[in-house]
């Protein structure tokens, strides 16, 4: 044996490591070129849009690009300084600028996000900005006494930089106080934290129900002879081939007050005509329909894992003295864990971001956070929608991390 600490060389004296790297680099380059189109696709359609979305949640220049004079005054005077004549002069100059640029609405909208009722303050004040004469403080206060509100000054200070945490504040039911501090909004207006919690709880519940329903089905599929398993599999997959909207609407037909299920119950005399059960346009409806729609995502990974579990394991356990319950609990169940993990993660993540179904059948109390994200999108408040989405993304990533710590992501088996 030669000394193992000396670097090995090839026959012509090159270091073995270098030779190996050279030999593999061609293969590696080839592999990279094969992956490149997908990489490009993912970057363009996934990473860049998500990056832009996240940027929007912390960046809004609607006010800052129009209020340069105010920004200068805010820079010169620290937080908590009462607005003096110089500040109002800067405001007047900016309002004039906004009038000329026709941008008062846009700037006002940005302030309106944090202090409701101020958009019109900007548009109406900008309209009369030309007529403003010094002293500007009196002039502006005469125009609208809201200009004296320290809350508005605090909001303008926060908005004078395009980079802002305002949208995350709103998304966590918080608001800036007049002195620049942060407080929770009045209880009646708190919605986001609660809705996030509700979204996660409901999704967990739906995941749980899906697991309970999918486990026996998947087991049956995995143990039936191939021909019959395939037939049953088609039934499981059938919902996949139907439009989501059609499926959701069919549930409405089934579950509504005058719907099929209620009609049957009434005709059987199980419920009275006045006592028809409300199963849709509420949380129950959301849970039922989402469970149905997401069920295949639980069945498939479970099935693919269960199919690989040989029946001899169960037989071995029985022969070793285990009852059928012990066999299930200690032998079968642990072996299906990768499938359970994959299915649960898949269903949960899909449920957390689900939008159409709760919108259609959720009614008043079946709404999820995604419905509010959509609402803010439709109201052109993209920054808040982005902040809410950012938090949702964070929640899902957190969950993913937790799963990795508890179960191990390498154990994930998606089919």
């Amino acid at each position: 044996m030669t000394d193992t600490t000396a670097p090995l060389t090839t026959a012509d004296g090159r270091p073995l490591k270098a030779a190996l790297a050279a030999a593999q680099s061609r293969a590696r380059r080839k592999a990279f070129f094969l992956v490149a189109p997908l990489l490009l696709f993912v970057v363009v359609t996934f990473i860049i849009p998500i990056g832009q979305m996240l940027q929007r949640s912390v960046y809004h220049d609607g006010f800052s690009k129009e209020a340069l004079n105010l920004a200068a005054w805010f820079d010169a005077n620290p937080e908590g300084t009462a607005p003096d004549e110089a500040a109002f002069a800067a405001l007047a100059a900016d309002l004039r600028q906004m009038k000329d640029n026709k941008s008062a609405g846009e700037a006002g909208t940005r302030i309106n996000y944090t202090v409701p009722g101020t958009r019109s303050l900007f548009t109406s004040s900008a309209r009369g900005a030309d007529k403003l004469e010094p002293p500007f403080k009196e002039a502006l206060l005469a125009q609208d006494k809201k200009w004296g509100d320290p809350l508005i000054w605090s909001a303008m200070r926060a908005a004078s930089s395009p980079w802002t945490s305002d949208f995350y504040l709103i998304a966590t039911d918080r608001a800036r106080t007049a002195d620049g501090g942060i407080e929770q909004v009045p209880e009646k207006e708190r919605i986001y934290i609660w809705l996030f919690a509700k979204t996660f709880v409901l999704s967990a519940l739906i995941t749980g129900i899906c697991l309970l329903l999918a486990f026996p089905i998947a087991h049956l599929l995995a143990t039936l002879p191939m021909a019959r398993a395939n037939l049953l599999m088609i039934l499981v997959l059938l919902p996949f081939w139907t439009s989501l909207l059609v499926r959701t609407t069919s549930w409405i037909v089934l579950l509504q007050g005058q719907g099929v299920v209620n009609n049957i119950l009434v005709s059987l005399g199980l419920v009275s005509d006045d006592g028809r059960i409300t199963m849709i346009y509420n949380q129950t409806g959301t849970i039922i329909v989402m469970t149905h729609i997401l069920l295949p995502f639980m069945v498939l990974p479970l099935y693919s894992v269960m199919r690989t579990i040989k029946p001899s394991y169960a037989r071995a356990a029985r022969s070793l003295g285990a009852t059928s319950w012990t066999t299930f609990r200690r032998i079968y169940l642990p072996q299906t864990l990768p499938g359970i993990g994959a299915g649960a993660l898949l269903v949960f993540i899909l449920a957390v971001g689900y939008y159409i179904t709760p919108a259609l059948v959720g009614g008043a109390d079946g709404q999820l956070i995604s419905n509010l994200i959509q609402f803010h999108m439709s109201k052109s408040n993209w920054s808040l929608a982005a902040a809410l989405s950012g938090m949702l993304l964070l929640g899902v990533l957190l969950l993913y991390w937790l799963y990795d710590r508890l179960v191990g992501i390498d154990k994930l088996k998606l089919g």
């Binding site: 609405g105 207006e189 919605i191 809705l195 009614g363 609402f375 808040l384």
Partner: protein, 356 residues
């Protein structure tokens, strides 16, 4: 980007017949048809000026693109209130002096003849559509009469449906609670006023289904899912008159909004456009449009002139949001209020909805 816009607008320009003296952009469908029948045909007959109609999904979008690209090919566009204000704020529209609009036949100046809020700096309203409440006449032979009845489950038991959102609902709730229409927005500006509106909504919350698309309320009524629902008046009219459904509209406490004509900045035929605008928004033209569609004219003086629906037997007057008897307790929706309060009140509304 600008180049792309220029190209696309240039293509639109090619598509438009070169002989047209005025080009109007509207929403297509039966609504555009009503405009052609009521405005364009008489105008051409009277003046010989050709007016061309082009369609868009939402005319505000191409108008904004055209103005930004400095290549405007449209003289008049039909837009929603929110867009009219926004585009005007952004300086993309010509300002319109109300003095150029013809007075009512009795000499009332246009500023007074148009319904409150129908004239803005840059836009002239043509029609009014309304959020009203409607009920199933087979369920209530002695139907509800006032907006308060909608919130009265004892007098009129049965499920309700409302639009899922704060707008119009809060106003209706306040009117039902006895706030005069004129004071509704002033009341809503105060926290106590908002609490008052939600307290009224609380009365029917447990029995209410929330709709989102305009097509849902007539369907909910037809399915028997609800006994009463808020809805856009045109949808109920269509279901009741065209499909013969037993639906009736209660106009008390209606909240109405406008659709408006605007002139984009840089319109190629500005003067002709103004003339057409004045003609199209006179008393007779607005009244004529009701023959083709169940939206109300934006002028008070047009109400009396509204005739029959195109089926030749339905008297349109009672179906108009703007007819005098329907306006006794009616509220023009305030765009200014809602741009200021939209997020705040919708957050409150959603929190209220979600709380059990």
């Amino acid at each position: 980007m600008k180049k792309l816009l220029a190209v696309s607008t240039a293509l639109t320009a090619i598509a438009a017949p070169a002989l047209a003296d005025v080009t109007v952009m509207s929403w297509g469908g039966s609504y555009a048809t009503s405009q052609v029948e009521a405005y364009i045909k008489p105008y051409t007959a009277e003046t010989g000026v050709k007016v061309n109609m082009v369609d868009a999904d939402n005319p505000a979008t191409p108008v904004k693109a055209m103005v930004e690209a400095n290549n405007v090919t449209v003289d008049i566009a039909d837009v929603e209130y929110a867009d009219a204000i926004r585009l005007c704020d952004e300086g993309m529209l010509e300002e319109i002096d109300p003095a150029m609009l013809p007075p009512a036949p009795d000499g009332t100046p246009a500023t007074e003849d148009f319904l409150p809020g129908a004239l803005t700096d840059c836009a002239v309203s043509t029609i009014v559509f309304s959020t009203v409440f409607a009920y199933d006449t087979s369920k209530f032979p002695e139907g509800p009469k006032s907006i308060a009845d909608f919130f009265d489950l004892e007098k009129f038991p049965g499920k309700r449906a409302m639009r899922k959102g704060a707008k119009a609902n809060l106003e209706m709730a306040l009117m039902a609670d006895g706030v005069p229409a004129a004071d509704v927005y002033a009341t809503l500006e105060t926290p106590e006023g908002v609490d008052r509106a939600f307290a009224t909504l609380d009365k029917i919350k447990k029995d209410t289904i929330w709709w989102e698309a305009g097509a849902q309320p007539p369907q909910l009524l037809a399915d028997g899912e609800v006994a009463m629902t808020t809805a856009y008046n045109g949808r109920i009219f269509a279901a009741a008159v065209t499909e013969g459904k037993p639906f009736a509209v209660v106009w008390d406490g209606q909240v109405y909004e406008y659709d408006l004509f605007v002139i984009p900045k840089g319109a190629p035929n500005l003067e002709e456009a103004k003339k057409f605008l004045a003609f199209a928004t006179d008393t007779q033209r607005l009244a004529d449009q009701a023959k083709w569609i169940s939206y109300g004219p934006a002028r008070k003086s047009s109400g009396a002139l509204v005739g029959l629906f195109m089926d030749g037997k339905t008297e349109m007057g009672p179906h108009m949001p703007t007819s005098a008897e329907n306006l006794t307790n009616a509220l023009p929706s305030s765009y200014e209020f809602w741009v200021d309060r939209d997020s705040e009140l919708n957050e409150r509304f959603n929190a209220w909805l979600a709380a059990n």
